[in-house]
Symmetry: C2
Amino acid sequence: MTASEQHSHLNETLAAIRPVAAECIAEAAERQLTLTKPPGSLGELESIGNRLAGIARCCPPPIPDPALLVVFAADHGVQAQGVSPWPQAVTRQMALNIVSGGAAVSVLARSHGAELRVVDVGMLEPVDGVEDRRVRSGSADLSEGPAMTEDELLQAIGVGLAVADEAAKAGFRCLLGGEVGIGNTTASAALISVFTGAAAEVVTGAGAGAAGEMLQRKREAVRRGIEVNGATADAPLAALAAVGGLEHAALVGLMLGGAAHGLPVILDGVIVCSAALAAQALCPAASGYFIAAHNGTEPGIVEALRALDLHQILDLGLRLGEGSGAVAALPLVRSAAAILREMATFSSAGVSGSTV
Amino acid sequence: MTASEQHSHLNETLAAIRPVAAECIAEAAERQLTLTKPPGSLGELESIGNRLAGIARCCPPPIPDPALLVVFAADHGVQAQGVSPWPQAVTRQMALNIVSGGAAVSVLARSHGAELRVVDVGMLEPVDGVEDRRVRSGSADLSEGPAMTEDELLQAIGVGLAVADEAAKAGFRCLLGGEVGIGNTTASAALISVFTGAAAEVVTGAGAGAAGEMLQRKREAVRRGIEVNGATADAPLAALAAVGGLEHAALVGLMLGGAAHGLPVILDGVIVCSAALAAQALCPAASGYFIAAHNGTEPGIVEALRALDLHQILDLGLRLGEGSGAVAALPLVRSAAAILREMATFSSAGVSGSTV
């Protein structure tokens, strides 16, 4: 596709996103009160179920199954600033490891029954066995200028849009976002700072292991990247091209495409949540389709979830990425729908109500 | 079995419980460092996996599957004090609803692949379709005297021991505890107060809906029950007979039996956790086999988990009981084992290590 066609695809997708159905959320909340349990006793599982009803525009909502986890892989020029203790080759090695079944997310996806797809949207080099939808070989150093051009950004978003379209066509009822890319928590911190207004120092964390001077360099790279590029929330596409990564852009496409198809999109950790902020900036209604899997340990995720108005399902101290937290939460998302669909009501089961 | 035979069965079970294998926990923690992820990045999932290795006495541990959730049903004489807004008939109605597949725990068990068994250990009346292992028709009012005799206690514990033996023989690799019994959070609060030393007012909560004057009556019933019966942690069997319920006793049997068979036992909410305290008092090593599913919303559960030295997996505001929280956590317990079994190591996957 040409850049202009990519732009059209994005604009059509944005136009297709409807706000989630508030009346179905209300209907689900009413239905919860008729089910054989004390009111509110399933806590967050009730909230998730009600949210799924709003997303699916029906109550009870369908079970969000089958589910597809898409892991976008890319490299980051900002790694030249020494922001991560892991060599860039690890992006390719881990992409292959995920495809081969040996990564944490591979194990979790098997264990929890999610289909898994790894898409190279811009690693430094292609890897046999990893789906090739490469936009460029790694992004440029965001601390010195834009990470990518606007054309490249639109292409990377287009990869995510295309994957969402393919998934909807194939009958998937739930999308999960994941990523692999050494250096990508640096880009994520920059995006979170831009879209939430929080200071770079506050939202930049250890990622996969930055500490001491390395963490200082990382914070400085984030601060400089925002300044050098003049990235602001008012121009979300420009900000995403300036301080994002290719996998962030593809995730934005996946999320917007999922929302346009009326599918729930389960977010993972700080990287996926940072992309969700960009998606929300492009289309505020999109975040109604997002479900926050976990709160991780990165400082930026707290700010991101607050700005997305989402509450996490899991609090397990996860900080691995790959989509591992999203897949970890999947069984509970399924069960939240099953509760609304399958539980008996007080009247159908002949169970007496409370006397007060 | 006679009371003396029941006592022998209990003593043999207590003698068979070995402390979990610290060396296997250490081996699992070492193994986590070789797997393709930043050290510690799977947070609590790593802790659970390591714990499962200690329980199974091998690393990696087997997947704790198939899993059996046992819901013990019983009634409570203390309901005469007006401690719950739900009529006692609801115990029988919900036991039947669980068996019929319409309760929250039925839906969760189907969704998460746990087998479900409902055992009547002392409802006011038997119910067709619910397994009959009735010790007596409801306990006596604990606020006026012992809830049951010591013979009855041993019989009810024996029901749990027998179910654990049957489950181990049938090849189950994980046990989950659940319960149904209107009034049973009152007995649970009394047990937690006795075994943790926390004041009755502190550990007595709303349960399935006690508020205002009803909550005051509930607190007073707990306080009086402990006082009237002279229940103390030094005499755990006497305390359990005095202020426990028949389902608490059966749960103690299930937990001790599970520990004796080397099986992980996933705890549910405040009721199951209160029984776990009694089990721990009878055999301190037993709690090494317990896994805390969630922290619920009842005040007593915080004290109970602290005394059990356990940290919950889920924080979802659950307060339903039935074993619903235990089943909700099951997929993550399975995955914690799968991660240790199935993830690639840095060397096997050819992934570079961190440079710092």
